[in-house]
């Protein structure tokens, strides 16, 4: 019968793989994991946490800009989208980044409805990723608490 550690490790491995396969994460997330070591054991968690804060701030800015009915500053929205695209790319948040590409096109063509739709989708998507990564980090903690090592997962 599997030990608790083995079960948790398998769960962790399966969950990680599913996140990549479903397109939530891309290989830049793998790159971030390379930057984590005994000296900086929480690097990935710290960076993604900053990313989610950034999402919240930028989405807030975009919502406010889009709220100025009749007087929407699309270049302002566009520059926030550019920022979000950059940071999502840097952390491997693949779906968020993909949405930003569409969003940017809507800004460039001053498509108000398109922008509003994209904003809603980006909001849902980053929150979804945040919840999933929280689950992943929780699994890591459980493994460590059970005395195990976090397995290296090759995608």
């Amino acid at each position: 019968m599997d030990t608790l550690v083995a079960q948790l490790q398998r769960q962790f491995r399966d969950y990680t793989i599913s996140l990549y396969h479903q397109g939530f994460l891309d290989d830049q997330f793998t790159e971030l994991k390379k930057l984590q070591d005994e000296c900086s054991p929480d690097f990935v968690a710290e960076v993604v946490s900053l990313f989610f804060e950034d999402c919240e701030k930028l989405i807030g800015n975009m919502a406010r800009a889009l709220d100025q009915t009749g007087n929407v500053d699309f270049s302002l929205v566009g520059s926030s989208v550019h920022q979000l695209k950059g940071s999502s790319s840097s952390v491997g948040a693949k779906r968020v980044k993909g949405l930003c590409v569409t969003f940017k096109e809507c800004c460039d063509s001053q498509n108000f409805e398109g922008c509003v739709r994209c904003l809603q989708q980006v909001d849902i998507e980053y929150k979804s990723l945040k919840a999933k990564l929280q689950d992943l980090f929780n699994l890591e903690q459980q493994i460590v608490q059970a005395g195990g090592r976090i397995p290296q997962v090759d995608i």
Binding site: K34, L35, V47, D54, S79, H82, K85, V91
Partner: protein
């Protein structure tokens, strides 16, 4: 007051103990900030410029893991201030440690990475410092513009550890006696390795730049 021989020994040892403790403390405080007054000659001090908070965190870590000391700033203007190039009667007291490499994002509000590059290359004090541009957009004219202006390299974002390691090794090596080996110094190489869409035009670009690059544009590392 009569002081015995043993008192002198005791007081002298105490003095040296206190001296070494205070030196350790000074160095520890120095390490907390990004710059320190004592630098290992092996470690590069890199100035990283990016307006994106997440990107700054990542580039800082990429560089630290590649054994560099790192100072991050959020804008081209801040970078110039740090270097003492902002016309504010450059106080070199602002930086305690010489900058060996500048890595900057291209698209930034205010001063772009390209404009920062130009200002650095126009300065007699800093033109020898290698400047690397990072961008999320693979725009050939932009790359050419930067390389023509004297950029050491152009990295596509998201930047990977392999890119930074290659870059820092190259900069460290360029501190050694110059080799006229252009194959080693094919700086747009990183674009090709980053870019999954490596078309033949990119290859042509590499060879033409190599042929045209005067050796005076080689960046020397000043110790």
């Amino acid at each position: 007051m009569f002081v015995s021989f043993f008192d002198v020994i005791y007081l002298t040892s105490l003095f040296f103990i206190l001296l070494s403790v205070s030196q350790e403390r000074t160095m520890a405080v120095g390490d907390l900030s990004s710059s320190s007054s004592s630098s290992s000659s092996q470690e590069l001090h890199v100035l990283a410029v990016d307006d994106n908070f997440v990107d700054r965190k990542v580039i800082e870590r990429l560089l630290r893991i590649s054994a560099c000391k790192v100072t991050t700033v959020e804008s081209g203007t801040r970078a110039l201030q740090y270097l003492g190039l902002d016309g504010d009667n450059g106080s070199s007291a602002l930086k305690d440690l010489k900058v060996n490499l500048i890595v900057t994002d291209y698209s930034m509000p205010g001063l772009t990475g390209y404009e920062l590059l130009k200002k650095i290359k126009e300065s007699s004090a800093f033109r020898e410092i290698p400047v690397v541009i990072m961008s999320s957009e693979n725009i050939q004219p932009r790359i050419e513009q930067c390389m023509t202006e004297g950029a050491e390299d152009f990295l596509l974002k998201p930047v990977k550890l392999a890119d930074v390691k290659r870059l820092t090794e190259l900069i460290m090596r360029s501190g050694e006696p110059q080799e006229e080996d252009k194959a080693k110094h094919s700086y747009p190489n990183r674009i090709l390795q980053n870019n999954t869409d490596s078309s033949s035009s990119s290859h042509d670009y590499v060879s033409s730049v190599d042929d045209d690059t005067p050796s005076s544009k080689r960046m020397k590392l000043e110790s």
